[in-house]
């Protein structure tokens, strides 16, 4: 298998961070020369990469390398941070997210986000937690439609069976792992094209983590997932392609098997083998 990965790698460009897409996938997102700052501090430095649709892309790197800032640029969340500033382009199906006529709220609907700590609304019921995003985006017209969307989203988030009899209970009554799946259900409910996940399992126990990973593999059939993780084994287990960032730069971006077996760049090698980081 390593052999195949290496042969595959040979066919692809070794020097460019933009890896060529196989025929059956398209690049849903094109990031071009993206830089991001907090005030005077540059967090992302001239980053260029393509994201394949219906796949999982993992971004790994040591703390402070800019990986969370990077994915927050992908749905225009970075610009709402204190001193947040972005340069460069992020093209979603060819349209620049940073163009003047683009509504950031619409972008955040098309590119959803799941955070490190499950962000359930504790005073809301499980049902309302999922429905809240849909209500804001007015994607439903009748109450029946709303119920259907909530059920479908909870099913896709592999939570339906566990909560179907207690939809009116508080979202805060669920376990950490269930809460995170509830957040994924809420993200799915607004029918995004891309789901960004920022360390979605770092606050979860191993069993809940594996459930979320299984869920990621399931939802990638319908959505494009970009995950930032400190957990290299997690990146290796779930992602199709992995990008390694260091000091704001994208050092290497290639099929995951290749990055974890035969990385091209010594800095990637040193990081994933634990020689620094």
């Amino acid at each position: 298998m390593v052999h195949e990965a290496v042969n595959q790698a040979d066919k692809e460009s070794r020097s460019e961070a933009v890896a060529a897409a196989p025929v059956h996938v398209r690049n849903i997102l094109e990031v071009k020369n993206l830089s991001a700052w907090y005030g005077n501090m540059m967090a992302v430095n001239n980053l260029t990469m393509s994201i394949h649709s219906r796949s999982i892309t993992a971004i790994i790197g040591p703390s402070g390398c800019g990986k969370s800032t990077f994915i927050r640029c992908l749905n225009r969340m970075h610009e709402v941070s204190d001193g947040g500033r972005v340069e460069g382009k992020v093209l979603l199906d060819g349209k620049d997210l940073y163009a003047r006529d683009v509504d950031p709220v619409e972008i955040r609907r098309r590119i959803g986000m799941v955070f490190q700590k499950p962000s359930v609304f504790p005073t809301m019921s499980i049902f309302d937690n999922v429905a809240s995003g849909i209500s804001l985006t007015r994607l439903w017209s009748r109450k029946r439609d709303l119920q259907d969307v909530v059920e479908r989203s909870l099913k896709k988030a592999a939570l339906w069976e566990e909560v179907k009899d207690k939809l009116n209970q508080s979202g805060g009554s669920l376990s950490g792992g269930q809460q995170q799946r509830l957040c994924i259900a809420r993200a799915i409910a607004i029918a995004p094209e891309i789901i960004l996940m920022d360390e979605p399992c770092s606050a979860l126990d191993p069993i809940s983590t594996l459930k979320i990973e299984e869920l990621m593999l399931e939802i990638k059939k319908d959505y494009t997932v970009i995950i930032v993780t400190h957990n290299m084994q997690q990146a290796a287990r779930v992602s199709d392609r992995t990008g390694f960032m260091l000091l704001g730069e994208l050092i290497e971006y290639a099929p995951t098997k290749e990055v974890f077996t035969v990385p091209k760049d010594k800095r990637t090698e040193d990081y994933i083998t634990g020689r620094f980081g």
């Binding site: 390593v2 077996t261 035969v262 994933i272 634990g274």
Partner: protein, 221 residues
């Protein structure tokens, strides 16, 4: 450097492979000495030591498994461990071939010699030299050195051809020599197989360094 203990264990495993390799070199050397000098004690020693080499192989395998299960090695570290598992299997088989030759020495016992042994010791010398260099390439992670070693396998194949033809003539000319000649053919065959195992080690060194699997020299036999 973070993960110092892990890195130390990884180095120790490679050192253990070198130690095992040294024992196998000794087994090859002693088995030929036993054949040449009709030294039955030495031959028995090679056969006995083979059990120790088997144990060593399992011990290294266990250490590699421990590191894999507890440290989640990646990239070059993972390749080192995969190569290690393969190299120790080849070393263990080489030791079996050396023990096989020692058993031939025991079988021959004090039978009159069929012919002076010239080509077989020469084959053995080349095999030991190749093995030594392949282990050097392993410990120094030197893919280029590994690539150069395999070409010598042709010399071994050539010598085996020569031994085989010569012994065939003996057997055709005088059928009473068949049993003795056949035993020497076994020795030649064991050495030829040992040479192939060195090629396997070299292939693993190249994989360990580059991540590429290359079939480097397809034996005639």
């Amino acid at each position: 450097m973070p993960r110092e203990t892990y890195q130390r264990h990884l180095r120790e495993i490679q050192d253990e492979v070198m130690e095992m390799g040294g024992t196998v070199e000794k087994a090859l050397e002693w088995s030929m000495q036993a054949l040449k000098n009709r030294d039955l004690e030495l031959a028995k020693k090679v056969v006995d030591n083979d059990k120790e080499i088997d144990k060593k192989r399992f011990a290294i395998e266990e250490q590699a498994l421990d590191l894999m299960s507890t440290q989640a090695p990646m990239a070059s570290d993972l390749r080192i461990l995969l190569a290690t598992l393969s190299v120790i299997t080849d070393l263990e088989r080489m030791a079996d071939h050396a023990a096989g030759n020692a058993k031939v020495a025991i079988l021959i016992g004090d039978e009159p010699p069929l012919k002076p042994l010239i080509d077989l010791p020469r084959m053995n010398e080349i095999v030991i030299d190749m093995l030594h260099k392949s282990l050097d390439a392993f410990i120094h992670h030197d893919a280029e050195a590994a690539r150069q070693i395999v070409s010598r396998d042709d010399e071994i194949d050539h010598l085996y051809d020569q031994v085989f033809r010569e012994l065939l003539i003996f057997m055709m000319e005088d059928p009473r020599t068949i049993t003795r000649a056949e035993r020497l053919i076994w020795v030649g065959h064991n050495l030829e197989r040992t040479g192939d195992r060195v090629t396997n080690i070299c292939e693993r060194v190249v994989f360990m360094v580059t991540g590429k699997m290359e079939e480097m020299n397809i034996s005639t036999y």
